[in-house]
């Protein structure tokens, strides 16, 4: 201890001459530390900002697609227009080819009090009604010819431009010549809206209609059915094949060249660009095997091949997570290897496998590029009855609508994206719930 005690003299010396603090740059280093930390936070904020921007831009553009403007008016099914010569009893084609748009136009003109002799005005009145009215009224008349000569209240789709104007998407400050609705049409629109004849209804057509060149009549019906077929095919094929392949690789495969080859293959297939699978599908399934183009079957097969690596990787992870003690116990009681796997390991790994499968399916649902190549970019108006009929898929429909020039299609596109995202969210939430509910910690 005596060596440590300092003499009073040295203490005084120390107090008087403070040793110069060596500049080790602490201030600078701490500043750089703070900066570095800030960069990290900024990076995360940047990512989240764009996630927010992306979602909000889609939602703000697309939520209006779920409402569709309809005009409910009393329509007089005048015999004069539909069947002037009274031939419908002998020639049913008359009802198919009758001039239904005029029926609707006259009805609307009557409500608005427009003089039927004023041709320019009548044309503008006709411009407020969707062209799909032809099909709508035709189906109504063909189903029940007795409406001819009577007056019935019908909810008619408004024209896409009127729909956009009613939703406030058309800038009315622009000169009349440069926008798609005239001042007179806007006036009528407001007049109809005040009486309640023109109003937004929930857009069921968005989920049931097929392709149409008129935005107000275009829907996702065909695409939803096509995607459903494809998902079923992917599920039915890729789950058993993927699970079987993983079981072999994880539980039975000897360590040899063949096994290594399969492993390398699976890892690489998981990283092959999806468009290459489209080329494979086009060359093998369509061109070589002669399956029909645009069919959901081909799409399903291509997506199956694309999803398999994902499912195999997830399943192998789930199998690996089952502790060896389970296997040892089963084997010790005399079970064969196969029995051990199928009776004990597989059931325990099932939640993990299903989670991986759902995530793989979600990926397949959003995949577009390979489907473009096998001809699913098709104008399909009728809902496909079997997976062999021409169909489109949800993301392909989005692609086709995104390429349409009309303003009203932007709304449809965003609406379709919202539908797609909702499906994806549901699937992912399902996967998370499944994992939470059944996951075991060993």
């Amino acid at each position: 201890m005596s060596q440590v005690t300092t003499s009073p003299a040295t203490a005084a010396f120390k107090a008087s001459v403070r040793p110069e603090r060596r500049d080790i740059g602490l201030r600078r280093r701490y500043a750089s530390e703070r900066r570095f930390r800030l960069y990290g936070l900024a990076a995360i904020a940047f990512g989240l900002l764009f996630l927010f921007l992306l979602l909000s831009s889609v939602v703000s553009k697309g939520y209006t697609a779920f409402l569709q403007t309809k005009i409910t008016i009393p329509v007089e099914f005048s015999e004069q227009v539909i069947d002037k010569d009274g031939e419908r009893a002998t020639d049913p084609k008359v009802l198919m080819t009758a001039n239904y748009p005029v029926v609707a136009r006259n009805a609307l003109a009557k409500v608005l009090g427009v003089d039927p002799g004023d041709r320019a005005a009548m044309r503008e009145v006709g411009g407020m009604i969707s062209d799909s009215v032809r099909v709508q009224l035709r189906d109504l008349v063909v189903a029940d010819p007795s409406v001819i000569g009577r007056t019935v209240d019908v909810a008619i789709l408004a024209h896409g431009n009127v729909d956009s104007a009613y939703k406030g998407q058309i800038d009315l400050g622009v000169d009349e010549k440069n926008r798609k609705v005239s001042d007179r049409q806007v006036g009528w629109m407001n007049q109809l809206a005040e009486t309640g004849a023109l109003a937004g209804h929930f857009n069921t057509g968005l989920f049931t209609n097929g392709a149409s060149s008129r935005p107000e009549a275009a829907g996702l019906g065909v695409a939803l059915v096509g995607s459903l077929y494809m998902m079923l095919i992917v599920l039915v094929l890729s789950l058993p094949i993927g699970v079987a392949a993983s079981i072999y690789l994880e539980e039975f495969a000897p360590k040899n060249r063949f096994t290594d080859l399969i492993e390398v293959n699976i890892n690489n297939l998981a990283a092959v660009p999806s468009i290459v699978y489209g080329l494979l599908g086009l060359a093998v399934f369509v061109n070589f095997a002669g399956f029909p183009r645009s069919a959901a079957l081909v799409g399903g097969l291509v997506l199956t091949l694309m999803t398999l690596p994902t499912i195999i990787i997830a399943t192998r992870a789930a199998l690996k997570a089952v502790p060896p003690s389970i296997r040892a116990a089963a084997l010790g009681l005399g079970a064969s290897n196969m029995q051990t796997v199928f009776h004990h390991v597989l059931p325990l790994a099932m939640p993990g496998i299903l989670t991986g499968t759902i995530i793989g399916l979600a990926h397949a649902l959003g995949e577009t590029a390979p489907l473009l190549l096998i001809g699913m970019v098709a104008f399909v108006a009728d809902v496909p009855a079997t997976p062999l009929d021409p169909a489109t898929a949800l993301p392909v429909q989005i692609y086709m609508w995104a390429n349409e020039a009309e303003r009203a299609f932007v709304e449809r596109t965003s609406g379709a994206i919202i539908v797609l995202l909702i499906f994806l969210i549901l699937m992912n939430v399902g996967a998370i719930l499944l994992r939470r509910r059944f996951e075991r910690r060993w």
Binding site: I44, F46, L53, I241, N265, A271, G366
Partner: protein, 494 residues
């Protein structure tokens, strides 16, 4: 008998076989199940397998072989003059024969007789039954169609008999072989194992399918366009030919497409790498577990959004925004409000693709940074380094090989990405350095060449396969190299 009905019958035989085998095993055991080698269910399964597998094998062979055999027989029956016609016309003829044969099934015997007497009447008669024909059939076609109809009917009958016989024979043989000493479980498990091996070789088959299908079409393409013109050509101008024209020759230079692909990928990496890396560093080194549990999944949501959504975002929001803001900037600087960034441009596509790639970079690097052993950090911190100094001087150098691997994987994704560039990059194949102008990529051109009406003989469509195989090999090399680096690095600390 239709194929689905046949399958149903075979399945019924299989189920009966299972029940029968099961019962017989139990009966043989006489209440003492331990006298059996396997549990009774395995005997049942064995009988079912014997019933199903041979029958299905016969059916598969028939499905593949019979159209080929019937087709060649019918074609060889065509008149000499018809056989001399080019392949495409022959195919059309054969398709027409097929259509007539389909229609024949709907006709009454009298109508059939009129058709064979008068071929010209066939078209009207068939279209009244809902089978439209493209043209009036020649007399030999009706004859061939009737032959075809007859042959298909016979071959169906034969296959029905064969399949049912195979199923029954298999079931009976297996049923009779059921005995207490029969090692049924081992046999069933052998079949199961074969099934497992088969399922896992699908991965190999897929790769073979990809390479083989693209190579054959690409070789076909290179027989029309020299390979060096494709790989080193600097002009892309395929000149879409009218259907049927054969003399059209465009220029298929890969270089402008490759340049666009790499440029857009480079811009994307410029966005994704710094953002992704810093996000990963923050998540791994600084973030509290609470913050991490919220922010990490949110960032990964970006990876779950389909690329078509990014494409639309680029097309409808980012592109117009960049265009307008460039007009404003230009106006402030020079007074002329002309935009210098086009809505479809390298910048738009690259930037949006960069956002898409952020989660790939961040989660891969996050894993790698977390895998760096604690001891390295503790040593550095113990010597007085700040955390950022530890990260910059110790953790990152240690993680560098892994991060490079992760970046290579991300780059391969950027190169193979399709939907964003299809919607946001433009279609003009040009070589230039201005990121504000549109450029095009390999994937865009694959989509362009293969959507629409196809003719599988023209270089305009076949070039897509040459592009595809180029893309496949570039991404394959990147991935193999990346996996190699990551594996090697991982072993260092294990």
């Amino acid at each position: 008998m239709s194929i689905s009905l046949l399958l149903l019958l075979v399945a019924a035989i299989g189920v009966t076989g299972y029940v029968g085998g099961n019962r017989r095993a139990q009966a043989l055991a006489g209440g003492r199940l331990s006298s059996l080698h396997s549990r009774p269910g395995y005997y049942g399964s064995l009988v079912a397998i014997w019933a199903l597998l041979p029958a299905i094998a016969v059916l598969l062979v028939w499905i593949v072989a019979s159209p080929v055999y019937i087709g060649s027989t019918i074609r060889s029956g065509f008149p000499e003059a018809v056989q001399a016609e080019p392949q495409a016309t022959q195919n059309l003829n054969y398709n027409m024969v097929g259509a007539i044969a389909r229609g024949l099934k709907l006709l009454t015997p009298e109508e059939r007789a009129t058709i064979s007497a008068d071929a010209a009447a066939a078209r009207a008669l068939l279209s009244s039954k809902g089978v439209p024909l493209a043209a009036d059939p020649a007399p030999y076609m009706v004859e061939a169609a009737q032959n075809l109809d007859r042959m298909t009917t016979t071959s169906r009958m034969i296959v029905t008999v064969l399949v049912l016989a195979a199923a029954l024979a298999g079931a009976v043989v297996a049923y009779r072989s059921v005995a207490p000493r029969l090692r049924a479980r081992n046999r069933v498990e052998g079949v199961m194992l074969a099934g497992l091996v088969g399922a896992s070789s699908i991965a190999i088959l897929t790769t073979i399918g990809i390479v083989a299908s693209m190579l054959t079409e690409a070789v076909h393409f290179f027989s029309m366009v020299p390979a060096w013109e494709f790989f080193f050509g600097t002009v892309w101008d395929p000149r879409f030919a009218a259907a049927g024209a054969t003399d059209s020759s465009g220029q298929f230079g890969l270089i402008p497409l490759l340049a666009g692909t790499l440029y857009i990928g480079f811009v994307a990496m410029l966005v994704a790498v710094p953002v992704g890396l810093f996000a990963a560093i923050y998540m791994a080194e600084y973030a509290s577990s609470h913050f991490r549990s919220v922010a990490k999944p949110l960032i990964e949501v970006l990876a779950g959004i389909p690329t078509i959504v990014y494409g639309f975002f680029a097309l409808a929001s980012v592109g117009p925004f960049l265009r307008d803001i460039s007009a404003q900037l230009n106006g402030l600087a020079t007074g002329s409000y002309a935009s210098f960034i086009q809505a479809q441009s390298v910048l738009t596509a690259g930037f949006v693709m960069g956002i898409m790639l952020i989660p790939y970079v961040s989660s891969l690097s996050d894993d790698i940074i977390t895998a760096v052993p604690r001891a390295l950090r503790d040593g550095s911190l113990g010597l007085g380094a700040t955390r950022s100094e530890t990260i910059k001087r110790v953790v990152l150098p240690a993680a560098l090989p892994g991060i490079v691997g992760a970046l290579l994987m991300t780059a391969s994704r950027a190169i193979g990405e399709t939907m964003i560039v299809v919607l946001a990059a433009g279609v003009a194949a040009r070589m230039q350095l201005n990121p504000f102008e549109p450029m095009t990529t390999v994937t865009v051109k694959i989509v362009n060449q293969l959507t629409g009406d196809l003719e599988f003989t023209s270089p305009q469509t076949l070039v897509a396969f040459a592009l595809g195989i180029t893309l496949f090999f570039i991404t394959l090399c990147l991935n193999i190299y990346a996996l190699y680096i990551v594996r090697k690095y991982r072993e260092q600390y294990e």
